[in-house]
Symmetry: C2
């Protein structure tokens, strides 16, 4: 074998953002050994997601390297067809054996690990590893800054895999943050009439076929229940550490459907970026070198700030 | 005009169960004047629903005559084609003009009144009135005791109008009360493999395509979320006065769909009773004369007691 011998050579230490006991710091770590079927990716840019901020606050009792939005170059193994390609990567690592994995739903595998969230070191680092089957090549005309939006844009596109949306759909998106803005763009592109409802803004109650709850706050659900019409649908996008608390009677009485919605397929998102049908650039708020990732997190947590990127390279 | 002149003659006082300020008593009341298009029904039997008990506890700030499950004889007006027929009745009185009413969804009309629940005197009385369009004739081979189950059985059948159920469906029904038992019977009849999960009983987590939450308790929702498999469906049947409180993150992460489910069409329920495909008789716990309706309520509230009927007639 002319290629690398996975699992033998101790990889070099690299810089990474590490969460430990509620604190964030940048330090040297050893990336995981390269198992068979995995690729090593040198990260060009990573994006800070609200989930990263939640993880720092204690969600999932997380410790380790966060980050699940990235674009990078495949560096190895040398004998891989992926090496040298610019890629983004799906974040769920299924077991590959269970019924869900075999049915193409490895993102729901009960034994899955999740890049930068659950059991697999994340993207706010110089290097990461992912199974080659998780990688997607970035089209040439998509910049690094756009490509790093693939994962959140895929999460927005997931709505269209779950709910029928057409030119007849009157939709409200609660939350004017990053995810809400992407959801609104995806729904508009699918033909829906979309109102973005910010905190404190007025909207007619019981008047929307579809309400997307992307506030990131437990207050979003009662608001969504007030806005949706009888027999309408609420897509629940927010995950937050605090439990939901609301009067469920209107949900039953008005026969509302609530659809939990998380990650999506990368293909529709990359297609939007390639064809420029959704412009993610207005969502960019700033960029920090990895050495200043703590500062980047603080910036991302400020109200009104949208996507903050971390650049591990020079 | 040979018939009655609706709205002129003051109707005779009749006996009814009345809820006032959290207390239940039987007293004489005047039934509402008979408006055009309405029929007057002499109640043969009425059924006590958990909703009646919730109304007594303060749900909807209700005061008036409760009761929405009944079978009776149409007594007038004399010129109605319905007079003399044995009937059950759909409980929602829509405005008849809005888009929902025109689309056949008057049970979701925002201006609807609801028999014995909202703005229209209920069935725990000697007489009630309903629009003729709400009435359904009871097949001859269905007894009064069976017919009074039409409304709750229709609510159970509603699940099949909302969710695809087949011989492949692995379903769990939470709650072994009246509604839970009817839901389990309807799902079995549709071919599903059904486990009835009582409080404290064990069931494998994340293993059901479909979970019907019919516990009548805020504790039902977290349990349902634990039992449903990723991308599965929870049908929420419980309405209760206490707000729901649960960790919504699994709902989002596992992309679960929650479907609120309330009243259903009467036709499938009457068809089950006529063809004897569902036997409701094991659900009967007792029968009380209207004069002892307070005792009937207390009996219905006892743990393990199922359907308690009230007989207004002699």
């Amino acid at each position: 074998m002319g290629g690398e011998n996975p699992g033998r050579r101790r990889p070099q230490a690299v810089k990474a953002l590490v969460f430990e006991k509620g604190r964030a710091r940048v330090r040297e770590v050893y990336p995981p050994r390269l198992r068979r079927g995995f690729a090593r990716v040198r990260v060009l840019l990573s994006g800070i997601c609200n989930t990263d901020l939640e993880l720092l606050r204690g969600y999932h009792s997380f410790s380790g390297i966060p980050g699940h939005e990235f674009v990078g170059y495949v560096e190895g193994p040398a004998d891989s067809a992926w090496t040298g390609k610019r890629v983004v990567g799906e974040i769920n690592l299924g077991c590959g054996k269970c019924a869900l994995c075999r049915g193409g739903l490895s993102r729901h595998c009960p034994r899955r690990r999740v890049l930068g969230i659950l059991g697999h070191p994340g993207a706010h680092a110089e290097l990461l590893t992912l199974p080659e089957s998780n990688l997607r090549e970035v089209p040439e005309n998509v910049s690094d800054e756009q490509a790093v939006f693939t994962e959140p844009l895929a999460a927005a596109c997931e709505i269209l895999d779950q709910v029928a949306v057409s030119g007849e759909t009157r939709a409200a998106v609660l939350g004017a943050g990053k995810l809400g803005t992407l959801c609104a763009a995806v729904l508009r592109n699918a033909g829906a009439d979309v109102a973005v409802v910010k905190r404190g803004s007025r909207a007619r109650e019981r008047s929307f076929d579809l309400v997307v709850e992307a506030t990131g706050s437990p207050a979003g659900m009662p608001r969504a229940l007030a806005l949706v019409q009888p027999r309408g649908t609420i897509v629940l996008k927010s995950t937050h550490h605090a439990p939901a608390r609301f009067d469920a009677a209107p949900l039953v009485v008005n026969e509302v459907t609530v659809v939990g919605s998380r990650c999506g397929r990368f293909e529709p998102a990359l297609e939007h970026l390639r064809r420029r049908t959704i412009d993610v650039r207005p969502l960019l708020s700033g960029q920090f070198p990895l050495a200043r990732a703590g500062r980047a997190l603080a910036e991302a947590a400020r109200p009104g700030v949208r996507k903050v990127l971390v650049r591990p390279g020079p």
